[in-house]
Chain length 322, copies 2
């Protein structure tokens, strides 16, 4: 009888909520600004407000999943560190349960947003049918979420699937993490914008010249590439190649059947993904490379909230097994 | 009542068998030459002979585990490819069951030897208490076996944990797999011998000079290093550093709590492992690096057969869950 789940995608700018059924159909959506500056209680209040609004659209609700942009402890439902939210060690699950009432004590799950997305893609998106998959978001940062044997894998201390910080160029740019040459410094949106900017500074010709060098964004590079601009395409191909080099490590270590590329930069489509596929074919063992389909994300703009709602099915299944 | 397991370590040169109890105590051992040249049937006959001999030492036997040096399909119990054995697609499990009788139909497990070793180390060796671990053998080749959430992880097509073929130096030496600069070309026994040889050819001074350049083995390099030879130590440090660079990728992707280094070259101890630890500390995210203890294998020369026997407990547990 309990066939509905609520998902909340908690980002630094906005909170997006969705009510879904078991088949992943979105029955209702809601959205609020996060307004981080008002503090944790206010943000939790707005999350509870979204949940309350969605609860009015269908009953009974099996549970609530929250995907947070940051590091989480999924076992305790704590947001360990989320720079966009300026949160550290926020016991989000317990705070939400406090608002909703004790009846929800075993029915709220918190995980990092990339894990929610991995699950959403497996159940309702490009990963349907796969039991071993990696989701990679390429946007402002580069992050991952992994499913092994049909279940999210968190690692020993919830640090798994951090593909964005694999060091690929040890003498490269300094990353936010303090290391140099992480994948994130080579393939993220800011990295793409920086690379295009540098090429323009060197005087290379491109439709991007008309946009001016300084405020250049990855979105503009992707648009120019799609319109056929050679420089923009070579910048994306370089990012895609680095992405593929990192994916090849994943492929030989974890032998997935499916790798799903999402995030803002994935709007570049095959201009990003095809060079990644080529790098995997070159760098990984033949059998492992062949086993791993590399595809674009299948869920659209509601993917964050839908993936978060999928945390409910995943959590209930784990409860059933334990 | 069923408290004994038989393990068979099937290598290209010899077959080693052990009878263990639940606590991992070795009650009996046996050994035969593999004599690959006599063909599959003869080898299977010798495996059955080892099993028969061990069965006389305790009853009842819960099952038989076989660790094979090569690629295996653990689900079907098939040795897919084992170059030392010159085997391809040998249905080893079924052949052994044919010899022992149908009563053993659900009681024989075949896996790659590095997976058996990973399991043995988790249950009885350096990985006791860990649920997320990687075992790496550094010997003639470099191979891995991984345990996630207390269970062996095979990947989508049994290609997981192939750490030896992560490409670390794309312009490096050609590897047996056809790619260039795999970890195996940088840290295996032959790679260590080759590197030492090259240094001697360049005229570097070392106690190894007295051994002559051509037949130099990794064992000799390890011995010289342990005796204090600076060149031998730097060769091992280089191998250890590359090992650590590959481990750092594993650490950020899979967040293990324990990494166990075995195989012949691990006789170098901290001369190999300390540079690996340093590389992981430099290259992986701080939290993930801290979570991952990097230690030497705890099981001795019987580790192959003991690990293989542990496949029995692992297999029975999986049967119980399904």
């Amino acid at each position: 009888m309990e066939n509905y789940a609520i998902g909340i995608d908690l980002g630094g700018t906005k909170i997006e909520g969705a009510l879904i059924d078991r088949a992943g159909a979105v029955l209702a959506q809601t959205r609020q600004l996060t307004a981080v500056e008002e503090g944790v209680d206010a943000v939790v209040g707005r999350i509870a407000g979204c949940i309350g609004a969605l609860m009015r659209d269908a009953q009974p609700i099996s549970g609530i999943g929250i995907g947070a942009a940051g590091m989480t402890d999924s076992r305790r439902g704590v947001v360990l560190m989320a720079s966009n939210l300026k949160w550290e060690n926020v016991p989000l699950r317990d705070l939400v349960i406090e608002r909703l009432g004790a009846a929800w004590a075993q029915r709220v799950w918190v995980d990092k947003d990339t894990n929610a997305a991995a699950l959403g893609e497996m159940l309702y998106g490009a990963g349907q049918g796969a039991k071993h998959l990696l989701y990679v978001t390429v946007g402002t940062g580069v992050g991952g979420g992994m499913v092994l044997d049909g279940r999210l894998y968190h690692g020993a201390t919830e640090g798994a699937s951090d593909i964005g910080h694999l060091v690929l160029e040890p003498e490269g740019e300094v990353c936010g993490c303090g290391k140099r040459g992480c994948l994130e410094t080579l393939a993220s949106g800011p990295a793409i914008a920086r690379e295009a900017h540098a090429a323009l500074e060197r005087g290379e010709s491109s439709a991007l010249v008309a946009l001016g060098h300084d405020g250049l964004s990855a979105v503009e590079v992707v648009e120019a590439a799609r319109a056929g601009d050679a420089l923009a395409r070579s910048v994306l191909a370089r990012a895609g190649r680095y992405l593929g080099i990192a994916l090849a490590y994943y492929v030989d270590l974890n032998n997935p059947e499916c790798i799903i590329i999402g995030g803002g930069v994935s709007a570049a489509g095959n201009l990003l993904v095809e060079p990644a596929r080529q790098a995997v074919a070159e760098r990984a063992l033949t059998n492992n490379a062949k086993a791993a389909q590399i595809v674009l994300a299948g869920l659209g703009s509601e993917s964050g909230a839908v993936g978060a709602a999928a945390l409910v099915w995943h959590g209930l299944q784990a409860q059933g097994e334990s």
